[in-house]
Amino acid sequence: MTLGTRFLRTVTAFGALALAAIVLAPLVGSTSISLRRVFDFSIPFGDNADAQIFFVARLPRTLAGAWVGACLAAAGVVFQGLLRNPLATPFTLGVSAGAALGAMLAITFDWALTAFGISAVPAASFAGSVAAVAIVYALAQARHRGLSTNVLLLAGVTLNAFLSAMILFVQYFADFADTYRTLRWLMGDLDVSSYEPLLASLPLGVLAFGAFAWLARPLNLLSLGPDSAESRGLNVAVAQRAAFFSASLATGAAVSVGGPIGFVGIVIPHLVRLLVGPDHRLVLPAAALFGGAFLVGCDLLARTLLAPVELPVGIITALIGGPFFLWLLIRNR
């Protein structure tokens, strides 16, 4: 089977999965709604509670889940390729925490700036993730042979602890009353109730995915190691920089919408590699689509399991991803 055929099959299969998740998830929720009423456009929208539940509560939320999941899973793939370590993820590297700190600063201090059509929260979120990745990346550069799992995990733990402390510090000075909401936000929340956060993060995310499309083949070469990749004709410095920025962009976009939701960036890339092999030209699109479907599913659980109250979606992904991560650690020795 040629790569072209495999690509089409992969995208079709995972695309169908993502589409099914996006179409089915809004049909289910903590309340029951009548689909006929939802699409009965003779009722004014303002009077149609079923339509409001569907279009204001569930649909933006489902789309947010798909978008955030796609960004986090793809960013995970790119970080793993860039650092040549299958245990690297936006969450374990502390990149999500960096993005969260940026977003938190923007939210708390009410930065209403909009520059070049990019709103303040995603921009600050991106800046935070770049800063965090820069630290990890500098570490990787200082150690020529790439990052060992030990160093990577330690750096991530340290960065996570440090950045979480910074987040609480910011909260402490800003508005103590928001602390409980900050905590909730840090566990992930996709109940966006409007399309605004999605649209605001779209430019950054689209830019990131454009870079991912180009990066797919360079990432394959990078897994040979930088010297071998260079001798195959790849401009390694450019590819590494592009990977570094685009993965940060995607993480920033995701975190600005849903908070630092963990483990999507590790569970999905691994499952996808098991299914389609390691070629990034298949892994990247498959992970993005599967990641979207996965997070939509997790959020569905989060909002229905304990209805009428809901669980933070980060708890669901952690319940699935935590044991999975440990299993990977054991398997990789």
Binding site: G29, S30, T31, F45, G46, D47, N48, A49, A51, Q52, I53, V56, A57, R58, R61, I107, D110, Y172, F173, D175, F176, A177, D178, T179, Y180, R181, R184, W185, D189, D191, V192, S193, S194, E196, P197, R303, A307, P308, V309, E310
Partner: protein, 295 residues
């Protein structure tokens, strides 16, 4: 400076989120203590209301009422009690939150009596008033305060008795300028009790928690006819911002409350401190829900 900006509502909420601990027996209390410290805004108000004010030598960081407390030393609060400061004031009774077990042990070791306080329903406010009266030797005065509080509440109840009771969403916080991270009162706790007396039906009455993270879907599905947004007075929300925050609800146009313009902001400490002024807070709620009844 920093402490001034931190609204005490946070403490209330933290406690709600932690869940109320069971009331444990308060022992070791000597006859009429004369150096009392309270780290709890509601308890501090009670002490002053029942005439024990002159015995108070230290208060919590968030305590602002009555005005006299501003002259007293601040000794921290729920999360950051300053034990050294507390001990240096040589108290013979310290009023603490039941969840402050570390502080309790330290006081015990120092041989200082403590009184454990828990946020719960409105009924517990009057019983706390009476209990503190007994402890501080102002039992008569305390009984009067409790009785007047109960009378105040009863009066509100009669005023709204025959009115139709709107289904009400009682919100005490959400993300700025967005309908995200909405926290509302569930079916237990003093806020729920206050709402019931003020003539509203809590849309989250079936959720037996003090605080509920309310999803957009649940809010739409529960169709509140009135939305009360309550905040502590120092949560720095200028009137212009209040208007903006009211308008974020326009996104949910199907809510009867939004269509009937019944989204109201109430910014007042009396709403969030379950102390002797809680009847006044309840009255504010009742006036917002049933303005005709108070003409």
């Amino acid at each position: 400076m920093v402490a001034d900006k931190k609204p005490l509502i946070a403490l209330t909420l933290m406690l709600m989120l932690c869940g109320a601990a069971a009331q444990s027996p308060n022992h070791q209390i000597t006859k009429s203590p004369n150096r009392i410290i309270s780290v709890i805004p509601a308890a501090t108000e009670i002490l002053f209301a029942i005439g024990a004010g002159p015995q108070v030598v230290g208060v919590g960081s968030f305590d602002t009422f009555p005005p006299e407390v501003s002259k007293l030393p601040k000794v921290g609060a729920l999360l950051d009690p300053d034990v050294e400061r507390i001990l240096s004031l040589k108290p013979d009774l310290v009023l603490i939150y039941a969840s402050q077990t570390d502080l309790k042990q330290q006081l015990q070791r120092a041989g200082i009596a403590s009184y454990e306080y828990t946020h719960a329903g409105l009924a517990d406010v009057t019983s706390t008033i009476r209990a503190l009266g007994d402890v501080t030797g102002h039992d008569g005065h305390a009984r009067d305060v409790a009785a007047s509080l109960e009378r105040g509440l009863a009066e509100i109840r009669t005023r709204v008795k025959n009115r139709s009771k709107p289904r009400t969403l009682l919100v005490f916080g959400h993300e700025r300028a967005a309908l995200r991270g909405i926290y509302a009162s569930g079916g237990i706790g003093f806020l729920d009790d206050m709402l019931a007396i003020a003539g509203g039906i809590n849309v989250f009455a079936d959720v037996k928690q003090q605080a509920v993270q309310a999803s957009t879907e649940q809010i739409i599905a529960r169709r509140p006819e009135a939305i009360l947004e309550i905040r502590a007075s120092n949560s720095a929300l200028p009137p212009a911002d209040q208007a903006a925050e009211t308008h974020v609800w326009d996104a949910l146009g199907s809510l009867p409350a939004v269509r009937r313009h019944r989204v109201m902001f109430l910014v007042d400490d009396r709403l969030v401190i379950p102390g002797p002024r809680v009847a006044e807070g309840t009255r504010l709620m009742a006036q917002a829900l049933h303005p005709e009844a108070f003409r």
